[in-house]
């Protein structure tokens, strides 16, 4: 609707400022433009520009003599990354770790978030949320090394007489599940907060046992929050290279390949090509989420 609301007469005081306010009030688009220009410029610069740079670099090569990036266009890097069995194995392993971490975090986060949002007393709720956030304040490296001390050969687990996974893919999954867990709990907790108690009571009132309430009421309402959480854990795991090195031993992930190619191998174009894989996977994931209509209820 374009109802034109004008003040009958401008109040005395600061006529020019009022005129500007009135103009912005009447012209919604102008107001929107004023609000969004700066953030949009930032977004374009950081996101789009960085992504394009990545894509372009992936199409260049490295001069084998000088070790300098030469700007000759080629698809070699992309072809190598997608067809070479070594890269395929690493990509699949990274994907598998990301899926496992996401599933483990989801299974852990749902009951924890439920307890915080719906069972704990209001006083405990605040304490628990802080407890969930606390690990985020500690350095990522400290947490990774702590897990190495627990999981590695001769570590805490073995010392306790429990068989340990040692430096392995399993160790990477365990450590990353721990490190990313808050990123799954927080959105799901926020989602639970948005489910009023009366909905759960209504479900029970109408004859639903707790599991039916979970399946028919809680989970459908939580789907967007769970997806938000999985995007965090999935994307963060796909890009990880530090934990993989610290607790994974020789376990290579896409991140470690990128790291090696940027550093030791000095092959920036190949690193860019490898880095495109997680981006493609995340985009595919978002597309699937959209397709299934899981976000339609937002």
């Amino acid at each position: 609707m374009s109802v034109d609301i004008r003040p009958a007469d401008a109040a005395p005081g600061r006529p020019s400022r009022q005129a500007l306010s009135a103009l912005l009030y009447r012209r919604g688009r102008l107001r929107l433009a004023g609000l969004l220009t700066a953030p949009a410029a930032w977004l374009i610069l950081v996101y789009i520009a960085a992504l394009s740079a990545l894509l372009i670099t992936a199409l260049w090569t490295v001069d084998t003599f000088t070790g300098k990036v030469s700007t000759t266009w080629t698809l070699d890097n992309l072809i190598q990354v997608t067809t070479d069995p070594v890269y395929q194995t690493i990509a699949l392993r990274t994907l598998r770790i990301a899926v496992l971490v996401t599933v483990v975090d989801m299974v852990l986060a749902l009951p924890i978030a439920f307890f915080i949002a719906k069972v704990a007393s209001p006083r405990w709720r605040g304490v628990l949320v802080v407890a969930i956030l606390m690990p985020l304040w500690a350095s990522y490296l400290v947490k990774a090394y702590a897990w190495r001390n627990v999981l590695a050969e001769g570590g805490l687990l073995e010392w306790l007489g429990i068989s340990s996974p040692g430096y392995s893919e399993a160790a990477v999954v365990i450590a990353l599940s721990y490190i990313w867990l808050p990123y799954m709990i927080l959105p799901i907790h926020a989602g639970f907060e948005r489910v009023p108690d009366s909905l759960l009571e209504a479900s029970s009132d109408l004859g639903a046992k707790p599991l039916a309430t979970l399946r028919l009421v809680i989970l459908p309402i939580l789907v967007p929050s769970i997806i938000a959480g999985t995007i965090f854990t999935f994307a963060l795991t796909l890009g990880d290279y530090i934990t993989a090195q610290i607790v994974g031993g020789t376990t290579q992930m896409l991140g470690t390949v990128v790291y090696a190619n940027v550093g030791a191998a000095n092959n920036l174009p190949l690193a860019s090509a490898v880095a495109l894989i997680p981006i493609a996977v995340i985009m595919a994931y978002l597309l699937i989420v959209r397709r299934t209509g899981a976000l339609n209820n937002l």
């Binding site: 209504a202 009132d205 109408l206 004859g207 639903a208 009421v217």
Partner: protein, 355 residues
């Protein structure tokens, strides 16, 4: 509303004559607060029972105890003669219409209404059919696939009603269901609810803080005050013979006269009350009050159907009289002027001494 979709009426009518619900010594404490304080109550099968009381008097808590959302601190809840005090809500044959309606936001109207049948394992075609009929019954038959967010407050309320009734509970609990509606819609829903209840023969327990609503709709009323029941009775009993100053004051405004006046007029030392519309008021004749009590008018309030005259007796007691518009006498009184108050002996209700 018609009862086409709910043909179980006859079965209800032949239900056992025992109480549908019996509360024995029911108490609920939340930490320091005692929300419900040893309530004893019997609600008959098929009756429209209202719980009336000011905000915070424990009505909602009693309803939630009956539904099973809260467990009692002490006491027993019997449904149809069976002790259900420790049972979960899904094991109790009662349903609730929530104050905020509590419709499932991710489901269409028909899915909302079919929910109770779905969790009971009713086949999809059957439950959709019955849900559609129930929505038809509350005049929402053309909105089956809408989301609750697309409805007005009154429409949501009807969906909540249909959703609770489609599973055919023995008792329907309603917590201030009309509280969020505007006056016009509210009055219309009062009539419809009452008609629906009479058609279905289901026991309704209706929570309200609106005394007019309780008086017009109920078979019986329980008046709540500070977690206790002050009085249980028919609307006439509650209105005409309040058993104490709280009920007299809460259910309609009432005049409460002190024991000293009781002694001088009737030789009885108790307080008594007289309803404002039972009081006759005339301007002070020049020869003195004669057979009445003198009062000074302090305020005139025009109510549309009547004029309310407030005044003070010589001993400081305030009194209220209601002069119907048909009597056309509101103009005879003016603030600051004296008038004479009188009533018939049979309109006096003696109040027991306040504890």
């Amino acid at each position: 509303m018609t009862s086409a979709a709910m043909p179980q009426t006859s079965r209800r009518k032949t239900a056992p004559a025992g109480p549908a619900i019996r509360l024995v010594g029911l108490s609920k404490r939340f930490g320091e607060t005692t929300a419900v304080d040893s309530v004893d109550l019997e609600i008959r099968s098929g009756e429209f029972f209202s719980m009336l009381g000011p905000s915070g008097s424990g009505k909602t808590t009693v309803l939630r105890l009956i539904a099973g959302f809260e467990l009692p601190t002490a006491g027993v809840i019997e449904l149809d003669g069976k002790d259900v005090s420790a049972r979960a809500p899904f094991e109790r044959d009662v349903n609730t219409v929530f104050q905020d309606y509590a419709l499932f936001p991710h489901m269409s109207l028909i899915e909302n209404v079919a929910y109770g049948l779905r969790v009971r394992g009713v086949a999809k075609a059957v439950r959709r059919q019955r849900a559609a009929e129930a929505l038809e019954q509350v005049q929402l038959g053309s909105f089956l696939d809408r989301r609750p967010s697309q409805l007005s407050g009154g429409q949501r309320q009807r969906v909540a009603l249909a959703r609770a009734l489609v599973v055919r509970p023995k008792v329907l609990l309603l917590d201030e269901p009309l509280g969020a509606l505007d006056l016009k819609l509210r009055q219309q829903m009062q009539v419809e609810l009452k008609e629906l209840q009479q058609e279905l023969g289901i026991t309704f327990i209706f929570v309200t803080h609106d005394q007019e609503e309780a008086l017009t709709m109920s078979d019986r009323i329980g008046v709540f005050n500070k977690g206790r029941i002050e009085q249980v009775g028919t609307p006439e009993e509650i209105y005409e013979r309040p058993n104490g100053p709280f009920v007299a004051n809460f259910v309609g405004t009432s005049n409460i006269f002190p024991g000293t006046l009781g002694r001088s007029l009737y030789g009885r030392d108790d307080r008594f009350s007289v309803r404002p519309e039972r009081i006759q008021l005339r301007p002070l004749p020049p020869e003195g009050p004669g057979t009445g009590i003198a009062l000074t008018v302090t305020a005139l309030v025009y109510l549309g159907h009547a004029t309310q005259v407030r005044g003070t007796l010589p001993d400081g007691t305030t009194a209220v009289a209601l002069i119907p518009v048909t009597a056309g006498r509101g103009g005879e009184f003016a603030v600051g002027q004296p008038a004479v108050l009188s009533w018939n002996r049979q309109d006096v209700v003696w109040l027991p001494p306040a504890s």
